[in-house]
């Protein structure tokens, strides 16, 4: 322990603490801007500077380690003048359109400007006038708003190893730019959206499709149908002022009906269906000498990553479409038929924790129904905006049920939202299908948790199936390199592009720290635990669709509607 004095308070703090950590220990909050709890220390914004006795220079609290006897002052006139001047400098270079900014009221710079009551900025407003990047259907970049904290670069290069963002130019001409291309779409960007979470301001955000939804709702001809992805509900609670997980599912359904959705169904239904298709695909690959290990294919950011960086391993990808796209293909065929609705009148909306889903829905091959299978994708954040606009008090809203045929789901589908969830759901089903016996305990705890790579072995009647799970693409890359080198011991690998899986997806409420992702993981398993049915193959509506429509997993209809193929992205940098 090290003895320090902070603003006159004597404290003993752990060795290796920074001033920032030490101050927090004694209850003093030092403002930060470039600091990110899960990233390396950058110390480039200098907003956290403090006075250290005996030192003429102010020290950045985020980077300066404490030493024995250190005397720190966090709010002297010198410190406050420095912080405020630095904020004035950053703000004088930053668009002043907070009211219409996507991060209004959720912006670290805006909060600091308020805390330090920046009023009359002495520096003349000087906006660079850089061009917005609107090249992708998933996310936009507004480089004028960038404050060059570099958190997006670390998210992209270190956490995701995608390297789509880098720095160009020096001094006040320095810019974060998509690498090797003028626009994001020409870069290796896989549209996971982790940069959005990393951004303290509104320099990167999701492409919004709310207006398209409102137009469809306003059109009396259209039947607006939506699916809800597993990880949305629990995080949406955060957007409407509740604790993580506190919004009951049926109240969520009622809220969507209030907004004007005609039918609310669930992606969880196709998550269960995915388990049947993918589980059987795995068994088939195992028994017929197919390409192994098989990779899951639910995460569109991961698909983009594989197509971009591992095009030689596309045969390892399960041919199963993601649950979103399975749903899209079925809602305008099977469901339309069951409901007697003209599929051309169905406006298919998907509510996702993801921005890569917007890109996935726009893929040209995703029109198996004869129409665009999923018309628009809305993120959890966009639904949050809609709900806030609606003026609904969700604590008082009576619950409502899902519409029939594609609304039922099991606990196995719920956990799709967590890293390891698809694997666990698959194991629950594959085990029972192969062993023809009931699992005593459906909890495969080895598949759970926030560790980057998890692995397990399952003994299926003498066949030992080795599985691995990775979330965050830097971890996935390790498993992929093993496969590429022919050294992978696994049969089945689950990969989710985003840290934590979908709970940490690029479309979720702005998530600054992994602790929030872990909190959401916990909420998911609580939900699974509470489900009456927890195995995908016991989903009654899934049984029904096989009886009435698909007939068998991997059958002709499934092949037509539920499976897909992948394309190497032949980008210049490869």
């Amino acid at each position: 322990m090290i003895n320090v004095t902070i603003d006159g308070i004597k404290a003993s703090v752990p060795d290796g603490s920074t001033i920032l950590q030490a101050a927090k220990d004694v209850g003093i909050n030092i403002p930060t801007l470039c600091y990110h709890p899960d990233q390396s220390v950058k110390a480039n914004c200098r907003v956290c500077v403090c006075e250290v006795e005996g030192n003429r220079l102010l020290q950045a609290a985020c980077s300066q380690p404490v030493y024995e006897g250190m005397v720190i002052k966090t709010r002297t006139p010198k410190v406050i003048e420095a912080r405020k001047t630095i904020l004035e400098l950053i703000l004088s270079n930053h668009p002043q359109d907070c009211l219409s900014c996507i991060r209004n009221e959720n912006c670290e710079l805006q909060s600091l400007a308020a805390e330090y009551f920046v009023r009359d900025n002495p520096f003349e407003l000087k906006i660079r006038g850089l061009v917005k990047d609107l090249s992708t259907p998933s996310l936009f970049r507004d480089p004028d708003k960038c404050i060059l904290c570099r958190r997006c670069i670390e998210a992209c290069t270190v956490i995701q190893t995608v390297n789509a963002l880098g720095l160009e130019g020096r001094g006040s001409h320095a810019m974060v730019v998509p690498s090797l291309g003028k626009d994001l779409i020409d870069s290796p960007c896989i549209m996971c959206g982790q940069c959005i979470h990393a951004c303290p301001v509104g320099a990167i955000g999701e492409v919004e499709d709310i207006d398209k939804l409102l137009a469809a709702i306003a059109d009396p001809e259209m039947v607006v149908v939506t699916q809800i992805a597993p990880a949305v509900r629990l995080a949406l609670s955060e957007e409407i002022g509740m604790n993580t997980g506190d919004l009951p599912m049926e109240v969520f359904v009622a809220g969507l009906k209030q907004i004007g959705f005609d039918h609310v169904l669930h992606t969880n239904f196709t998550a269960d269906l995915t388990i049947l298709e993918e589980g059987n695909e795995l068994l088939k690959r195992l028994s017929t000498g197919g390409t192994l290990p098989m990779f899951t294919s639910c995460s569109p950011g991961w698909i983009n990553f594989c197509e971009t960086f591992y095009p030689d391993l596309l045969d390892n990808l399960s041919t199963c479409k993601s649950p979103q796209q399975m749903f899209g293909a079925l809602v305008k065929t099977y469901w339309a038929e069951k409901m007697g609705i003209d599929p051309s009148k169905i406006f298919s909306v998907s509510i996702m924790p993801c921005v890569a889903k917007k890109y996935e829905a726009a893929r040209p091959e995703m029109n198996a129904s004869g129409y665009r299978d999923v018309d628009i994708v809305l993120t959890t954040r966009e639904i949050g905006r809609l709900f806030r606009m609606s003026g609904i008090d969700f604590r008082k809203l009576p619950p409502q049920p899902f519409s029939p045929w594609m609304g039922e789901y099991t606990g196995a589908a719920v956990i799709f939202g967590a890293t390891g969830g698809v694997m666990e759901a698959a194991l629950r089903t594959v085990y029972e299908v192969v062993m023809q016996e009931t699992l005593d305990d459906v909890n495969f705890s080895v598949a759970r948790g926030f560790e980057g790579i998890k692995e397990a072995e399952v003994d299926l009647k003498g066949t030992v199936v080795k599985v691995a799970i990775a979330h965050g693409l830097s971890h996935a890359r390790k498993l992929m390199d093993q496969v590429r080198a022919g050294e992978s011991p696994y049969h089945f690998i689950e990969i989710m592009a985003c840290p934590g899986g979908c709970v940490g997806g690029g479309g979720q409420p702005i998530t600054k720290a992994n602790v929030k992702r872990i909190e959401r993981l916990d909420a998911i398993y609580i939900e699974d635990e509470a489900m009456p049915i927890r195995k995908s193959h016991e989903n009654a509506e899934v049984k029904q669709i096989y009886e009435d429509f698909l007939h068998e997993p991997l059958g002709h209809k499934s092949h037509e509607l539920l499976h897909t193929h992948y394309h190497a992205k032949n980008k210049r940098f490869l």
Partner: protein, 407 residues
């Protein structure tokens, strides 16, 4: 009249720099042999007690620095010579490298022995391609002679960025990254090039080493001013008769440098100001001319010795105009990493430009002072911390020049 004293330039003009035999004939590499007969700890103590302080500008005690790297446990350590001589008006390192490259190599090899390094780099300014040739030839000769033993030296060229003279930015540049300063601590002697303990010293610092080892710490400590002993090469530019270089003891005063060695101001004009230490140095008025150039004496008058560049302005010069150009230089050379430097240097240039073109108000001068003050203690590295000095010192010493331009 004060006299020159040549230590680092002891062989300058006397030997053929491209012939190692010439260097050896005048006693070259005796110091390295002597150093190798000493225990590293004793060698470091010798350097420490000579009180040699870094000639790059920061003035850190050289032996103390070496000791940090010596104490650090690592499988590999590095010695880097900072030859990224980018301060406008400074060409002292070039003189040494062109005139006596072996003395630099010898100094580096002594350091390598002291800290336990086998690999050295000379990071040479990109605008010095001919110096790179000379250095490579010198290294080849020294290698062929076997005088360097197991210590090998490689020359790396800069690409023109001023900030790469900052030692951690220099290290980043050698590693092939964007030339940007690192967060300190950790300091390079503990975590440096490729994460290994690394000594980065200036050319002039290394060139002092053989003389100190040969003649002893006590001899060196007795030269010049005690707190910053030895000599300093000063390079004279601007409105001065002798636009040339001198190596002088560190107790020489600014007045002696300009009026004795420099021969005063030409064309019968008067003295206005002198900027010492390079572009980021303070402007010094006539009242402070009797200050010795030694590090601490300069600090006392709010100035720096820096690189030893001496830029003289006569009394007809427009000092606001000169300062505005300097502000432009820093806006151009800021690497853009930290906010106060990235935005601050740009704003400082804008404000100086506004005042210089007759559009400024007294509030702009006040804002410059506030901005400069904040930058000087908030920026991440020395570039941003020093950039405001010319602006703030000209405002302080020559307020009338500013007032004359305000609306």
């Amino acid at each position: 009249m004060a006299e020159e004293m040549r230590i680092v330039l002891r062989n300058y003009g006397k030997i053929d720099p491209l012939k190692i035999d010439d260097y050896i004939a005048v006693g070259g590499y005796n110091a390295l042999n002597k150093a190798r007969s000493m225990k590293p700890a004793d060698l470091i103590n010798e350097v420490k007690s000579s009180n040699l302080r870094g000639r790059g500008g920061a003035g850190f005690n050289c032996g103390v620095k070496w000791n940090f790297a010596y104490m650090a446990q690592a499988d590999q350590k590095y010695v880097i010579c900072n030859a990224d001589e980018g301060e406008p008006g400074t060409y002292k390192d070039r003189l040494i490298m062109e005139g006596d490259p072996q003395s630099l190599l010898e100094g580096m090899a002594i350091c390598a022995h002291a800290i336990g390094a086998t690999q050295g780099f000379i990071y040479c300014r990109g605008e010095y391609p001919s110096v790179v040739k000379t250095l490579n030839m010198a290294i080849a000769q020294a290698t062929e002679k076997g005088v360097l033993g197991d210590f090998s030296i490689e020359v790396r060229m800069g690409a023109g960025a001023y900030v790469c003279g900052e030692e951690t930015a220099l290290i980043e540049s050698i590693e092939g990254k964007r030339g940007e300063p690192r967060i300190k601590p950790p300091f390079p002697p503990v975590v440096g090039l490729w994460g290994k303990p690394t000594i980065v010293n200036n050319v002039e610092t290394f060139a002092n080493i053989p003389a100190i080892v040969e003649k002893g710490a006590a001899w060196y400590a007795g030269i010049g001013t005690p707190s910053y002993p030895g000599t300093k090469i000063v390079t004279l530019t601007g409105d001065v008769v002798n636009k040339t270089f001198f190596e002088v003891p560190t107790d020489t005063t600014i007045r002696e440098v300009i009026f004795d060695f420099g021969g005063g101001i030409p064309d019968g004009k008067g003295f206005k100001a002198v900027q010492i230490g390079g572009t980021s140095g303070a402007f010094i008025p006539a009242a402070n001319l009797d200050t010795p150039i030694g590090f601490d004496a300069m600090t006392e008058i709010g100035a720096v010795l820096g690189s030893g560049a001496v830029f003289v302005l006569n009394d007809t010069r427009d000092i606001v105009d000169v300062t505005a150009r300097i502000a432009k230089f820093f806006a151009h050379e800021s690497c853009g990493k930290c906010a106060p430097c990235r935005e601050g240097t740009m704003r400082m240039h804008d404000l100086m430009d506004k005042i210089n073109s007759g559009r400024g108000k007294s509030a702009d001068v006040a804002l410059l002072n506030k901005l400069g003050r904040v930058m000087s203690y908030s920026c991440l590295c020395g570039l941003g911390q020093a950039a405001p000095a010319p602006v703030m010192t000209t405002i302080e010493h020559f307020p009338a020049d500013y007032n004359a331009k305000l609306v």
